[in-house]
Amino acid sequence: MRVTVRLFARLRELAGRGDLDCECPGDAATVADVWQQLVARYPALAPYERAVSCAVNAEYARRTSPVADGDEVAFLPPVSGG
């Protein structure tokens, strides 16, 4: 299955892009699986392991949340609005 990954702010800069496709092996995967794939491809993201928040289809999600083919999975560094 394939998901679209979105990265923001410093994560986007570390990866060098804000949008990318990610292939996960098999039919079932979680947000954590997508993150693992991502870090394998962009090791510079690894330090954000504990600080990152995630969203699936523009709703906040947990690492354990399931993702389906075609989903948009976003990884968010600590926020700093205001």
């Binding site: 410093r10 600080a51 990152v52 928040s53 709703e59 968010l76 600590p78 926020v79 609005g81």
Partner: protein, 157 residues
């Protein structure tokens, strides 16, 4: 037609926001404006760029309005946040709350800015003399009861 929540590259208008929260029977309007400061962490800031994950940021703002409605049912709250490049002295965020009495208006306004800083996916990119830096504050988790309690505490509610 201005909406109660917005993530926008346009200049913010505190007066329009204050009008939005007016209602018959309201005796108080509190407004908060966040302004781009010329320095941060001892550095001279030249300008900022705000980036947002817009669809989720709008949902997070709506969530804050719902939390306010649960806590202060008589208050009406509006929140607009700007994105893109901002000069020193420009408004990055405007929050307005109207209510029958002043206590709710103050509390809802303060609570909203605290929650915004906790859970709204917006990032501040600081440009200063000699470099740039992404400011990183809170790891967003809307369900974190401790964070919400801290926002209530700061709102003195």
């Amino acid at each position: 037609m201005t909406s109660l929540t917005a993530i926008t590259p346009s200049v913010l208008d505190p007066v329009a926001l204050a009008h939005l929260v007016e209602a018959a029977g309201h005796g108080a309007v509190c407004t908060f404006v966040g302004v781009v400061r010329d320095h941060h962490a001892g550095r001279q800031v030249t300008h900022l760029v705000y980036e947002a994950y817009e669809p989720l940021a709008l949902k997070a703002l709506d969530r804050i309005l719902i939390e306010c409605a649960d806590t202060w049912p008589t208050a009406r709250v509006a929140i607009h946040h700007r994105t893109g490049p901002l000069a020193i002295g420009e408004a990055s965020v405007v929050i307005a709350a109207g209510s029958p009495h002043r206590a709710e208006a103050f509390a809802a306004t303060r609570y909203s800015i605290e929650r915004l800083k906790q859970i709204v996916p917006i990032w501040k990119h600081e440009f200063f003399d000699g470099g740039t830096e992404w400011v990183e504050g809170a790891t967003a988790d809307p369900d974190d009861a401790g964070a919400r309690a801290e926002a209530m505490r700061r709102a003195c509610a």
